[in-house]
Symmetry: none
Subunit: 401 residues, 2 copies
C-alpha cells in the first residue's frame, strides 16, 4: 500500500508519538462482562479518547493471531504479509543481538537424545535460564569454523539464538528438528544443493562440534536448528516516510524490531517511568517516537486479568507526561490483543486513539474495545495507522488536482 505514498511524503518539524501498550486488547472474564481495558480505571486515556479519533485496528488479517514481529511491522507501516521476518532473525532480535545484513540467524533448541541418538525430549527438560546461559557460553567457547564468526546467545528455557556471519552463506536450509521424539535429529539439508553447499557444510560442522561439546550434558546433549533465515534490513522509516525515528523500549525484542525499521534505539529504559524520561531526553532529536510498554502483554500471557488491569492503569498514569511534551500527534494502541482469559496473543482488533490538532473528536465516554468500535478512526488494518499519523502531522501532500 505504501508504494503509493512515496511521492506524497513531506517533512516538517512535527513530533509523532506512538505509545504501544503491548497486547492491549482483551476479553471479558465472563459472557457480557467487561474487558481488562474497560475494567481498568483510566482517567487519562478516557479524557484523551473523548477529544480523539478512535477505532479498532486489525493487526494482520481477519482472525489472524500475530506474533510480535508482524504486529509491530504493521504498526510501523510495513505490510506484514510483504515484509516477513524469519524466526531465526526474530530470535536474534529478541535478545537484542546486533544483527548485520547477511547474517544467517537460527533459532536453536536444546534437546535430549538417548544413547542411540534418538530424541527423548525436544526441550531438554526446559532448563532454567541460568542453565541455558551456561550452555550457550559453553558452545561459544567450543565451536569455531575458520573464516566465519559464530555467535551463541541464550534466550529462555531450551531456546537459544545462533548467528553465523561470513562469506558465501545462503538461505534455503531445512529445520533439523524432526518435530517428534522417537527419531534422531535430521541432518542439515539445503533445498537447492547448488546454492546451499557451503552453508550446509558450515552448519553441519557447527552441529557436530556442538554435540561433541554437549556430550557430557545429562539433558541438553543435542541441538535442533529451526527457522534458518537471513537478516535483510528493511527500508528505514527515514527512507519510506521521511521520519527520523527513535524506539524507546525496555525489552530486547522491541528494541530489535525498532532497529529493524531503522530506528535509533535508546537502551536506557528499565522501568515504565524511564520510558517517559528517555522520551523527554531525546525529544529534540527525532520526529517519530515508538514507546513500548510491555506489561499489559506479559500479564495477559500469564492469564492474570487483575494484573493486566493494574498494568493498564500504570500505563495510563504515564500519559499526562507524554502529553506535556505537546506532540503534534499522539496515538495510543496495542500491537495485538492478549486476553487474560486466553493466556496468549489473539486475533481480536485492538483499541486505538489518535489525537492531534486536526483529528475528529468522537466524544466517546471511555477508551475500550466496544466504544472504539463507534469511533471515526474506523475499524481497519493496523497498517493504515502510519498513513493517518503522517496525515495528522501534515506530512502528506495533496494527491491530484
Amino acid at each position: 500500500m505504501y508504494d503509493f505514498y512515496k511521492d506524497l511524503i513531506a517533512r516538517n518539524d512535527s513530533k509523532i508519538v506512538l505509545l504501544v501498550m503491548d497486547g492491549l486488547g482483551g476479553l471479558p472474564r465472563e459472557a457480557g462482562g467487561k474487558t481488562e481495558l474497560a475494567t481498568a480505571r483510566t482517567p487519562n486515556l478516557d479524557r484523551l479518547a473523548a477529544v480523539s479519533s478512535c477505532g479498532l485496528l486489525e493487526p494482520v488479517l481477519p482472525g489472524v493471531t500475530p506474533g510480535s514481529g508482524p504486529s509491530h511491522l504493521a504498526l510501523f507501516g510495513y505490510d506484514p504479509l510483504t515484509f516477513r521476518i524469519g524466526r531465526g532473525v526474530m530470535e536474534a532480535l529478541g535478545v537484542n543481538f546486533p544483527v548485520e545484513r547477511g547474517d544467517l540467524c537460527v533459532r536453536l533448541n536444546f534437546a535430549t537424545a538417548d544413547a542411540q541418538g534418538i530424541l527423548v525430549d525436544r526441550r531438554a527438560g526446559r532448563p532454567k535460564d541460568e542453565e541455558t546461559a551456561r550452555l550457550a557460553a559453553k558452545l561459544q567457547a567450543a565451536v569455531a569454523v575458520p573464516g566465519f564468526e559464530i555467535f551463541f546467545r541464550p534466550v529462555k528455557e531450551h531456546r537459544a539464538a545462533l548467528v553465523v556471519r561470513g562469506p558465501g552463506l545462503a538461505e534455503g536450509i531445512r529445520d533439523t528438528d524432526p518435530q517428534v521424539t522417537g527419531k534422531p535429529p535430521l541432518p542439515v539439508v539445503g533445498t537447492d544443493p547448488a546454492t546451499t553447499k557451503k552453508t550446509v557444510e558450515v552448519l553441519t560442522s557447527i552441529v557436530a562440534q556442538a554435540e561433541r561439546a554437549l556430550a557430557d550434558e545429562p539433558k541438553a546433549n543435542r541441538m535442533l536448528l529451526r527457522g534458518i533465515s537471513f537478516f535483510h534490513p528493511l527500508p528505514t522509516l527515514e527512507e519510506r516516510f521521511g521520519l527520523r525515528s527513535c524506539g524507546i523500549a525496555a525489552y530486547p525484542m522491541y528494541k530489535g524490531l525498532a532497529r529493524l525499521a531503522g530506528m535509533a534505539v535508546d537502551d536506557r529504559p528499565k522501568t515504565p517511568a524511564d520510558l517517559v524520561a528517555v522520551l523527554r531526553d531525546r525529544w529534540a532529536d527525532f520526529d517519530y517516537f515508538f514507546v513500548h510498554y510491555k506489561y499489559t502483554d506479559s500479564s495477559g500471557e500469564d492469564g492474570d486479568f487483575e494484573r493486566k488491569v493494574r498494568m493498564i492503569e500504570e500505563c495510563d498514569a504515564l500519559v499526562p507526561a507524554i502529553e506535556a511534551l505537546r506532540p503534534e500527534v499522539l496515538a495510543v494502541t496495542g500491537d495485538h490483543s492478549t486476553p487474560a482469559v486466553m493466556k496468549g496473543h489473539s486475533w481480536h482488533p485492538v483499541p486505538a486513539l489518535l489525537h492531534s490538532r486536526y483529528c475528529l473528536a468522537d466524544g466517546l465516554p471511555g477508551f475500550d474495545e466496544v466504544h472504539c468500535a463507534r469511533g471515526t478512526l474506523g475499524q481497519r488494518p493496523t497498517l493504515h495507522l502510519m498513513a493517518l499519523l503522517l496525515a495528522h502531522a501534515l506530512r502528506l501532500s495533496k494527491y491530484g488536482a
Copy 2:
C-alpha cells in the same frame, strides 16, 4: 474493483440522485468541539439520516488528501488510483474547455524573467483575472503552428490552460518550470526522444512565439509549461454501469469532471436553486443525476467556519425539493473534507447517507461525522458508493447460484 460488476449490471426505470456537497467533512474549531456539519441546523438532512443508511467515506486511501479530480472519480465509481487525470487535463476541464480525445493539455503559468532571461517571479506577480484573460487572448492571436489547433484559455491569477490538437503528438514531455527562481525556464524536453520529437518541436515553437508576443509585458514575459498530459476519455457511466447520466453543476471544473465520465452536462445552473430546477427539468431524461453544490468547499477553503455552516444550511434547504421528485435512491455526501480550520482539502472521511426503499435505517439523531461513524453504511472507500447506489436501485443482479 468494478471489473467484477460488469456482468451484474441490470437496467430499470429507477432514478438515482447523488447530491455532492463539495468539501462537506470538517473539523471542530477547538479540541472536543463540533464540526461545521454538526454545528449547522440541518433539519432535512437530520430527518433523512434517521431513515437512511449512514457512513463515512474515505476518498482515496487512508490519510490521503485528494484534489477534486480523484475524489470525484471515486464518487462516480472510477478507482482514482487506476484512472489518473493529468494536471494539464484538469486545468482544461476546470475552465470547461471542450477537450477531445488526444488533446495535449498543459497547465501554463505566467512568470517574470529579468533581462538575462532569469526567472525572478514564477507567478508574474499574480495578475488579476482580467489581466490573465488579456494575456491569454494576446497569445491566442499571436501563436500558430501549421497543421495544429492551439487554444489558450485563462484560468486564474498566473494560471492558464493550453490545449494543442493535431496529429503525431505524444506524452512524456517534462515540465519547463525549474521550480525555483534564479534560473531560466527549462527547454522543452521529451523523456523518449524517439516518440516525442514532433511534440517537442511543436511546443518549442509555441513557447518561442509566445515569448516574442509577451516580450513587451512588464511582468508576464515568460510562460512555464507544467503537467503536460493527454486527454483520455474514460469509459462512460453508460458503458460501465448502464446509467444514462446527467451532471448538474454551476462550476466549470465539475462540469468538466462530469463530462469526463460521459455524463450529459446541463450548463444552466447559476444558483443553488437552479440546481434543483434543472434536476426537475431533466428528470425524465436520465437515470443518474450528479448534483454538485460548491459553496461548502469554497467557504471551507476560505477558513470561514461560520459561512461554511450557513452554506450547509442553504444546501439542507434544497433537500425537500429533491425528495419531492421521489428518486429511488438519494445519496448525500461530499467529495472530500475541507475543514475551515485547515483552509483546504483534507484526508478526513466524509459523512454519507444513502436513502432508498431498500436501505437500512440507522435511526441516528443527526447527520454529521461522529454520528455517521456508527452507521450501517460503514467506513469504507468512496469508490464503494457507486455499487451501493446501483444495488439500492435494484440495478445489480445476483452473483452465483
